[in-house]
Amino acid sequence: MEYFLELFLGGLTRGSIYALIALGYTMVYGIIELINFAHGEIYMIGAFTGLIVSTLLSAYGFGTFAVLLLTLVLSAIYSAAYGFTVEKIAYKPLRQAPRLSPLISAIGMSIFLQNYVMLAQTSDFVPFPALIPDFEFWEPYSHIVSSSELVILFATTVLMVALTLFIRYTRIGKAMRATAQDRTMAMLVGINVNRVISTTFIIGSCLAAVGGVLIASHIGQINFFIGFIAGIKAFTAAVLGGIGSIPGAVLGSMVLGLTESFATGYVSSDYEDVFAFLLLVFILIFRPGGLLGRFTTQKV
């Protein structure tokens, strides 16, 4: 039972990180039907910014809690700037182009950002400080769930709730939903679609940056390539849950994280990816639109 709980919480933690990244994929897809392959790189840039910011803040003697919070906020802002710029440079000029063009542009952006960070920083792995301290009072249970896992779960939940409220009740949230339903119609009723798209990129990038900082602090190391695998997995999760659907991305991520964790724990880590992708295949066979996605016939 204890083993099950450990695996369950480990899977949820991993799923939370996937969810923070997957939301960016799914929101962008929902609005401009683009798979933003550079999104994993935004996550990586978030982690690198986090490293620089937290090192500086610690050097200036800020407290643990202040460092954690400020690091999260500042990396989110910095990554948001990246997400915003990437959209303006690589996707906006191609908005009327055939659908494959922005996709290729996205892949190019991903490669560019990876190499940029590699050249500007380092190609080596670098240590990342543990921003989340161990809760000593948690002692009898700390082997089941560590403090950083708890913080990741908590932060993800808070962000998900905030995002849901934002999209449901704010003006720009409503505009986002309207744009997702029908971009031309939204423009006709006077919604500034360009602003909506920029906002989507900014929100997605913020979430990815938070995910990047939290997991980097949990794992303790980063390099320029971490965004690639995390991005692929998060993209899988978004498809699993139904790309374009926000609750779907969260559900898909949790399912993916848990499947991986249990596959490793009860079968073998050799089959971690095998099970994850088998699950994807089966879900797509029986529900082609993903778990919560609407199935519509489209040319891709």
Partner: protein, 378 residues
């Protein structure tokens, strides 16, 4: 037509020149001792082969300056095999027809295997500075093969011996990163543990390199109550696993390979790296001969020694020394000398065992102590 005849004429002239040069070569060879050097000297693996050939040249120059071997000057016959087995057989035939008693080479294990059959038939001894395939010495099929580098399974063997005899572990989890290098090592380690019967392999698994985290695997190690982990792979995964284990307050011993014996591992894993064991090539930098060779190489070629230069130097030296000690180029006499006479090389004082592996060449166990890898003295 006229032009064609002209070309034919040129060709004939060129051919004649080649023949003359070839003949003058064999005339010169009368009073020299020819030894072969074979390996990849062109193509994408030339960076492994060339430094060995250059090191061999260095040895020969030095020995010739001292009067040569058995009173004769030594002459190198350098042949390229591009590390391809099908080319290597041609290379070997060519060297055999030149009548060399010994060959330094080849470089790649596959090419070495292909060439060895031909050498065996012509009673030629081959000594490789870089072929690490265990079969070459362990299968017993190649009595004419020797090497100055440890075989692939030597690390695994050392890891297992250390785990069983020094740390006295009873339950060992064997992990790898699914790569050629890591998985190969892990497979040997598992085999050695099972053969020894002294400990149990509680589980044997491959992890996905680059995964977001390894908490599930770490929980599994904990549940299996393994008292040690042997990991085949590189440092990024190793540091993630070790950090997670130590954060979970697990004291399980962690033993890995030279893919982890890297300062980046210590830098990244920080305080969690303390106490981790890793095997790595024996430290020869304190050997004065090693230092001398490095300097001579740099002076002669204007570049630092290549990966296998030191091994190549040692191989050439060992072969020439054996010929000198044997007093002739007779196959059996040289083999006997290689197995019985110690020779001073940059790798230390070595001789060869029955199967052809160098005794005294190989790996040591290191442990992280105060942020540094320190050699563990058994």
């Amino acid at each position: 037509m006229k032009a064609k005849r002209m070309r034919m004429g040129w060709l004939a002239a060129a051919l004649a020149a080649v023949v003359v040069v070839g003949m003058s070569g064999s005339v010169l060879a009368e009073d020299t001792l020819k030894i072969g050097v074979a390996g990849a000297h062109s193509g994408d693996l030339a960076s492994y082969g060339l430094p060995i050939a250059k090191a061999a040249k260095l040895v020969v120059e030095e020995i010739n300056a001292k009067g040569g071997v058995l009173g004769k000057k030594v002459e190198l016959v350098v042949e390229d095999d591009v590390c391809k087995p099908e080319v290597a057989t041609n290379t070997a035939t060519k060297l055999a027809s030149q009548g060399v008693p010994v060959v330094v080479g080849h470089v790649c294990s596959g090419a070495t295997k292909a060439a060895l059959g031909i050498y065996k038939a012509s009673k030629i001894i081959a000594m490789s500075a870089s072929a690490t395939n265990p079969d070459l010495t362990q299968s017993g099929e190649y009595p004419n093969f020797f090497r100055t580098i440890a075989s692939d399974d030597a690390q695994a063997k050392l890891e297992v011996e250390f785990a069983l005899n020094t740390l006295k572990l009873k339950k060992i989890a064997v992990l790898h990163d699914k790569g050629d290098y890591g998985k190969g090592l892990a497979e040997y380690a598992k085999g050695f543990i099972e053969k020894s019967g002294k400990a149990e392999v509680v589980f044997y698994e491959g992890i996905t390199p680059g995964a977001v985290d390894y908490s599930a695997v770490v929980q599994k190690i904990k549940k299996s109550q393994a008292d040690g982990v042997i990991f085949g792979g590189y440092h990024p995964e190793a540091s993630k696993i070790v950090s997670q284990m130590r954060k979970d307050k697990m004291k399980t011993a962690f033993i890995s390979d030279d893919g982890v014996k890297d300062d980046t591992f210590i830098k990244v894993a920080g305080k969690f790296a303390e106490g981790v064991y890793a095997t790595g090539p024996k430290d020869t930098s304190k050997n004065p001969m090693d230092k001398m060779v490095r300097e001579a190489y740099k002076k002669a070629y204007g570049e630092d020694v290549g990966v296998f230069s030191i091994n190549g130097y040692a191989a050439t030296l060992a072969l020439l020394n054996a010929i000198q000690k044997a007093g002739s180029t007779d196959y059996d006499a040289i083999v006997k000398a290689l197995r019985t006479e110690y020779v001073e090389t940059p790798l230390g004082k070595i001789k060869f065992d029955e199967r052809g592996d160098a005794i005294g060449v190989g790996f040591s166990v290191y442990q992280v102590k105060d942020g540094k890898y320190v050699e563990v003295v058994n």
